[in-house]
């Protein structure tokens, strides 16, 4: 054991925070995972198949990472943004010309948002083709569909906030579709916009939805989503590949095809 890490970790103050020694033994590596609030979503050991990049392309984790980046950049943007007319657009201009690295900050938030929509969609496609919605994971797939819709709504509500021509008319086109809902369409759109047309009330509603309501809902559902994955034994792995056997899955890779051709 290297002396410096040992000295740094073997004292009462450090041990009051982290209750295990330097993680150079499997015992301490185990403790590092399951005594840690953030890491305990993981088991102590994982199957090598489950962490291979080509199994999942890490799409779910990358979606969560994109959401984390969006939360950080979004909070920073909130320091500079007022959801009213005409201040909202003036603040955009301030970000562009006054705030240090303001353009970069807004760029990061914007491109991370588009990336997250794409990542969540690709994650869903990957999960379908893997058949990972099979029992007992049916309801987690349903949560995943809701998470996808929430991601779209988060991106959509954020789209209005710059209050430029692009934002205004994109949301006009988007919310006009709501009018087509039979019998309650007009009322639904009024509820969403706080009026019959997009104005300051709509901007404030979209702001609150974008910064408070939808992120909170997303965080709760992401927690449920990951918790259920963990309870169901981690990333879905087709049983036929395992040495331990199980029924060969019908739609699988080459090996299972070989078996059936006999």
């Amino acid at each position: 054991m290297p002396r410096l890490p040992a000295a740094l970790t073997k004292n009462r103050v450090f041990r009051s925070v982290v209750r295990h020694g330097f993680p150079n033994s499997n015992r301490n590596r185990s403790l590092a995972v399951f005594t840690n609030f953030f890491l305990h979503i993981h088991p102590v050991k994982v199957r090598l198949r489950a962490i291979a990049f080509r199994r999942t392309f890490y799409l779910g984790g990358l979606s969560a990472a994109a959401f984390f980046i969006l939360t950080v950049t979004g909070i920073l943007l909130m320091f500079y943004y007022r959801p009213s007319v005409p201040e909202a657009y003036e603040d955009m201009k301030d970000l562009e010309f006054v705030v240090s690295a303001g353009v970069f900050l807004r760029n990061l938030h914007r491109w991370a948002a588009h990336t997250m929509v794409a990542l969540v969609f690709l994650h869903m496609v990957r999960v379908f083709f893997a058949g990972a919605y099979r029992p007992p994971r049916e309801f987690n797939w349903v949560i995943g569909v809701v998470l996808f819709l929430l991601t779209l709504l988060l991106s959509f509500t954020g789209y209005l906030l710059p209050w430029d021509q692009l934002a205004y008319w994109a949301i006009t086109v988007g919310t006009n579709m709501v009018k087509a809902v039979p019998s309650i369409g007009d009322d639904l759109r009024f509820l969403l916009l706080g009026g019959n047309a997009i104005g300051e009330a709509a901007l404030l509603r979209f702001y609150v939805l974008h910064c408070v309501v939808l992120p909170l809902a997303l965080i709760v559902l992401i927690a449920m989503h990951i918790w259920r994955v963990r309870k169901d034994g981690g990333v879905y792995l087709p049983p036929e590949e395992g040495a331990g056997g199980g029924e060969p899955g019908p739609e699988s890779g080459e090996e299972a095809g070989e078996v059936r051709r006999e």
């Binding site: 073997k10 209750r19 185990s30 991106s155 008319w169 039979p182």
Partner: protein
């Protein structure tokens, strides 16, 4: 740990240190050998989460961050003039991920394109895990598949008829992927062989092909909405007329 204790019947024991103040491990797990965790029962290669998985997660997070930083340095987020309700741009486009729906508005009335079809898509996504078709995922071309070729094309023709008779214009973004999928599905039936790529196709299930069709339709509609629609929702070529957004 089970790999350290070997044949011990108690596979997972955490003992508090001699000095509880210096070694404050307060967890004591005694697990009989016949109650080993499923990871141990899997009988396949496992690695410690720390560092193997955590390192991979860190690399993935850093790679995504690096990608976003590079993109953000290279491309600025669009910002047009201030919102003006009096001045309607032409075309007025929704955000890119809704342009598939907006493209559908070209073929169907708003009730169908904006409410009915997206509602059906969401509903069909939600119910996927509750249908045996999606759980069994049996190969479409099993050992005995008489009449499957005819059934495939009968279904494709019926769907084609439905979409042609209901839409205002020929819905190529829906029909072409349908025919494409039907053609690929037919290959094992026409060739009779089950080896190589044809065998791979033959082992795919009906659920696979239906989802693939949906996926192709979604991507095609969205791509047309993003790249090939200009003023008045006319068909444009992005390399000739530029990009409208």
């Amino acid at each position: 740990m089970s790999d350290e204790n070997g044949s011990s019947s108690r596979s997972f024991i955490m003992v508090p240190g001699d000095d509880a103040r210096r070694e404050p491990v307060r967890l004591l797990v005694v697990q009989p050998g016949d109650m080993r965790p499923p990871v141990a029962a899997a009988n396949e290669p496992v690695v410690m989460t720390f560092p193997h998985l955590l390192l991979r997660e860190l690399i993935a997070l850093l790679a995504l961050s690096l990608f976003l930083v590079v993109v953000s340095l290279a491309f600025d987020a669009p910002l047009e003039e201030v919102a003006n309700p009096e001045k309607t741009p032409n075309p007025a486009k929704a955000p890119w991920y809704f342009l598939g729906l907006q493209e559908l508005l070209h073929y169907y009335p708003p009730l169908v394109a904006g409410v009915l079809l997206p509602g059906l898509v969401v509903l069909s996504l939600v119910v996927i895990p509750y249908f045996d078709l999606n759980l069994e995922r049996a190969p479409l071309w099993g050992r005995r598949s008489p009449g499957k070729l005819a059934a495939t094309w009968a279904a494709a023709a019926a769907l084609t008829a439905v979409f042609i008779f209901t839409a205002a214009h020929p819905v190529w973004p829906i029909l072409v992927p349908l025919w494409l999928v039907a053609c690929v599905v037919s290959v094992p039936g026409l060739l009779g062989t089950r080896s190589g790529p044809v065998g791979w196709i033959a082992r795919r299930s009906l659920a696979f092909w239906i989802f693939l069709w949906f996926l192709l339709v979604a991507v095609t509609l969205t791509a047309i909405g993003i790249f090939f629609r200009g003023p008045g929702w006319s068909f444009v070529l992005p390399w000739r007329d530029g990009l409208f957004y």
